[in-house]
């Protein structure tokens, strides 16, 4: 087990390094000059040169990359050009809100998708209605779902706040938006896995043993469904951790997503790189966690690395 974790950690670090290098290089391809974004008016060539030298942008790209890598190896993510604050502090300030939304969003997806998927697998009657509903949800862009919820719950029914903020009540609508957008995917996967399981020989054996239906569903079918749900949830969670721009914008939720977008618009390279790094690390870490969870769920996989 320790060997497995070690190997995965090494693999993850290499991936992360590749990601950082790639993201760093892409910035040189993107047109635009950070210096012009920083200076209040169009700067004179002399001023621009000074700022460039100050930020180290006058060096060749490999030197810049080398410096950046050395710094992040020491745990320093640099300082924002625009906000004049350490990037690490900027991101850390946003992280709790982002994590809260990501977690709530994934929970909402599972809580909505699971019953829908189970109902679709078990009842041919309900299936028709629910697949219609899924199709509607699939075809709606996230911002439409978000805005409709905002209108319905916030403005008409006045049940929930519309002004933005980081409280629990403010969390409900954005999480629900993510949940509704994810429901068709979860429901589909859960339905497929459940149907596969229901048609299997061990389910027929369970029926032949005279077990109650609910018992069969919970003890024999769900373990077959769970790994797929864990995988999807892990992927979503890590994706949401690197920011959900649209939802954050609609509900005024101060997460990493909006930070990243602002940084990109202002060509604030250290912040862009910081969000890439944190997002990438989240994806890689959660991937490892998901794999271990799946192993825990399946005794056959457990053995392979034991």
């Amino acid at each position: 087990m320790a060997r497995f974790i070690g190997a995965r950690a090494f693999q993850g670090l290499v991936t992360l390094l590749g990601l950082v290098v790639l993201a760093f290089l892409v910035q040189f391809v993107i047109p635009g000059d950070p210096v012009r974004m920083l200076a209040p008016r169009t700067p004179t060539e002399e001023v621009a040169q000074r700022i460039r030298a100050q930020l180290g942008l006058d060096r060749p790209w490999w030197e810049q990359l080398g410096r950046y890598l050395t710094r992040i190896a020491q745990g320093d993510l640099g300082e924002s050009y625009v906000r004049r604050q350490p990037v690490a502090r900027l991101i850390l300030g946003r992280l709790p809100a982002t994590a809260a939304l990501a977690l709530a969003g994934v929970l909402a997806e599972i809580l909505l998708g699971f019953p829908v998927g189970v109902a679709m697998a078990l009842s041919p009657h309900l299936r028709r209605w629910l697949s219609g509903l899924n199709l509607v949800l699939l075809s709606l862009p996230t911002f439409v779902i978000g805005l409709s919820l905002l209108l319905a719950m916030g403005f008409w029914l006045r049940l929930l706040p519309t002004t933005g903020g980081t409280g629990l009540r403010e969390l409900i609508l954005p999480a629900l938006t993510l949940g509704l957008a994810g429901t068709p995917w979860y429901a589909g996967v859960i339905r497929d896995r459940l149907e596969e399981s229901l048609g299997s020989s061990y389910i027929r054996m369970a029926v032949a043993k005279g077990l109650p239906n609910r018992w069969i569903l919970v003890r024999h079918c769900f373990p077959h469904v769970l790994p797929a749900v864990v995988t999807m949830a892990g992927m979503d969670f890590s994706a949401y951790l690197s920011g959900v721009v649209v939802v954050e914008t609609i509900f005024g939720w101060p997460g990493i997503g909006s930070l990243a977008v602002q940084a990109m618009q202002t060509l604030d390279r250290p912040v862009v790189m910081g969000t890439v790094l944190v997002g990438g690390a989240a994806v890689i870490l959660l991937n490892g966690v998901v794999d271990m969870l799946r192993m825990f769920l399946d005794p056959r996989a457990r053995e392979g690395i034991g």
Binding site: S200, A208, K209, G210, P212, R300
Partner: protein, 320 residues
């Protein structure tokens, strides 16, 4: 002998495809009845129909009565409480029939928990006993193992423990030894014979293998293309078969063992009709060397001689 299972004029179809037609059969108390047939003969369908485990799209006509219960007239909850208690099932592929994510002990124990409402530790203790009963060595250790950690023979024993946990009077086994090697196969057959003698249960054993029939069965029922063509005591079927199909089947088996090197094998020519394709008349007539025009017209009525039934216009041996 009393009949434990009484099948009357059973017909099973999947939409337009008729898989079984006019099957009447009894399984007597305390006997091992082998149902012999090839792929598409409907033998698995017959087993599943007797266990009332056919998929919902199957339409069933006729009657299956087990121990006085008219199976297809029972409400679902009553049927459920009879499963495991009245009928134990051993399916074909033991690996697929075990849930890969649950220890085998738990899969045996849940039978006791669901039917007898005993506590989890008590059910586990009884599961260990059940595993010991089917001759699994060190059952307390095996109980906590997962199916993939067991050998094929052990899995088949674990399934037997599950099926027989509540000592049902009827065991239905669908070719359970086909995938096993020869030694394990003979061990499982010996075990089933022993358990049957010990409990006096009835066994319905589905197979295509005449060798297994010879080693196990008291009586034999022969299915061909969805029709029951012959039923009788095992000795009669093997030594004085009356139906031309049975005769050919037995001869294939005997010839393989007895024939000389280099001689061509005895073969039944032609192909069986594709599954669900019910011919008018006797389904074997296209391959039958004794077929007459009448065989093409109507399926023959069963002829009886004591214990021995044959559905043929021109039965073989001393019937004519």
């Amino acid at each position: 002998m009393r009949a434990l299972v009484q099948v009357r004029d059973l017909a099973v179809a999947y939409r337009q495809t008729r898989v079984l037609e006019g099957v009447s059969l009894e399984v007597r108390a305390g006997e091992i009845l082998a149902v012999v047939g090839e792929t598409g003969s409907g033998k698995t369908t017959l087993a599943m129909a007797i266990a009332r485990l056919l998929p919902p799209e199957a339409t069933v006509r006729g009657q299956v009565e087990i121990n006085g219960y008219d199976l297809y007239a029972l409400p679902a909850h009553a049927m459920r409480s009879l499963r495991g208690r009245l009928i134990g099932l051993v399916p074909q592929d033991a690996m697929a029939a075990l849930n890969p994510v649950l220890p085998v002990g738990a899969q045996v124990a849940e039978v006791f928990r669901a039917h007898l409402g005993v506590s989890a530790p008590a059910a586990w203790a009884r599961a260990v006993e059940a595993l010991a009963w089917v001759q699994i060595p060190r059952p307390e250790r095996v109980a906590s193992l997962y199916p993939h950690q067991l050998s094929g023979g052990m899995r088949q024993r674990a399934i037997l423990a599950m099926a027989l946990a509540l000592h049902p009077p009827l065991l239905i086994a669908d070719e359970p030894t086909t995938a096993l090697d020869r030694i394990t196969q003979s061990e499982i057959l010996a075990l089933v014979r022993r358990l049957q003698a010990e409990t006096g249960m009835s066994v319905l054993w589905i197979t295509h293998d005449m060798e297994v029939v010879a080693a196990l069965a008291h009586r034999v029922a022969v299915l061909y293309a969805g029709r029951l063509v012959e039923v009788g005591p095992c000795r009669k079927i093997l030594e004085a078969s009356a139906h031309p199909y049975t005769e050919a089947l037995v001869r294939t088996y005997r010839d393989l063992l007895a024939g000389a090197w280099g001689e061509p094998l005895y073969a039944i020519e032609g192909y069986p009709p594709p599954a669900g394709h019910m011919l008018p008349g006797c389904p074997f007539h296209p391959r039958c060397p004794y077929a007459q025009p009448v065989c093409r017209e109507r399926f023959p009525d069963p002829l009886w001689r004591g214990e021995h039934m044959v559905a043929c216009y021109f039965p073989r041996g001393d019937w004519g």
